[in-house]
Subunit: 212 residues, 2 copies
């Protein structure tokens, strides 16, 4: 028999509570006792069902990643590269700034980047590497080249940097009195700006390279 407040199975309730807390406060700042209190579960449950605190973390990272990929897919497509860049930036911003449950993934990734755990390199290969490769492909097409030159890499990082800044530096930005985009339309406005800014930046870099 189960309490109506706790209708899910124990591991699910733990993952739900832990996902929120990890995303909010980071891995190390979140205690097992906190998680279990929020999940209405005994303190030993985490170690029983997930071996470790790290085991729980990896499981959450995995599930959160899967959901995120389903909601906001970032894959190589065809079409004009300008359009593909617009789609890429939009999807990427929705991933990291969106407020729904799958946004955990973005928050967790951001937390990981700032303060990596052991589960980190696994996640980079699974999530960051493919995303980055898609972006490299778009930038190569935009710069009319087929190899990953220094220019291509630098441009790709310039684009990622513009997007992730709003996630990584959120506290400063807010203290400076600048509103962080949260609604769908605010995020899409930002996506348009970054896309336009980057397309123009690329055409400049391309001109310089062609000139050399």
């Amino acid at each position: 028999m189960m309490n109506p407040l706790t209708t899910n199975a124990t591991p699910d309730r733990i993952m739900d509570a832990a996902g929120e807390l990890f995303a909010e406060n980071g891995f190390r700042q979140t205690s097992i006792r906190d998680i279990c209190a929020h999940a209405n579960v005994n303190i030993a449950a985490v170690n029983y069902h997930f071996r470790d605190k790290e085991g729980l973390y990896e499981a959450i990272l995995q599930r959160s990643f899967d959901k995120c990929v389903n909601c906001y897919p970032i894959v190589a497509t065809d079409g004009p590269p300008e359009e593909r860049l617009a789609i890429f930036v939009r999807m990427f911003l929705l991933r990291i700034l969106g407020s729904g449950q799958p946004a955990w993934h973005g928050k967790l990734m951001a937390a990981e980047m700032a303060n990596p755990t052991a589960a980190f390199s696994k996640l980079v290969e699974q999530a960051a590497r493919p995303t980055h490769n898609v972006l490299l492909g778009i930038v190569r097409d935009l710069m009319h080249t087929t190899e990953n030159t220094y220019q291509v890499e630098a441009v790709a990082l310039s684009i990622m940097g513009q997007c992730l800044f709003y996630k990584h530096s959120r506290p400063v930005i807010e203290l400076l009195g600048i509103p962080i985009p949260v609604t769908q339309s605010e995020i899409e406005s930002l996506a348009e700006h970054i896309t336009q800014f980057s397309l123009d930046g690329i055409s400049g870099v391309r001109a310089v390279v062609a000139h050399a």
Copy 2:
């Protein structure tokens, strides 16, 4: 009489050791016992000389900030805005990527942004706000406007984002096999790229705004 290995006064030795450890591992991950061991000092010394662990942290943040401002000043200057942007980006990157002792400041700031402490808002007003205002002034001139429109703010954040990405996301970038600039000339190459990329991005945004 003093041991030759520990010629400095106790508070200075504590600040030197703690600055390095805080910059490397962050505030919460660094224990007072670690600091005191590295400083060859009794465990109670931190509480005696700095009241708190937080008191020590604030003192270090302050000293580190002062040194940084002296070495890499970022102030409003005159001259063509294109040139001022180049100088700004160069100084900013040196602040956050430079390897000397004053680079503590950049590392500490980055750690603060990812994981703010109570000393944070104080620091934002003192360090981030003026820097941001200088950048806003440059961008306004580049866009031929006198007010901080949404466009101006967005462009400024795009520039900051490109710079800070190399600091905040360092672990991912390295795992992706991309070398992080460390030497003076590598940093200056990156500064040139970001400056050029942003100038072209701005001219595009400016065209769109003028068109509207």
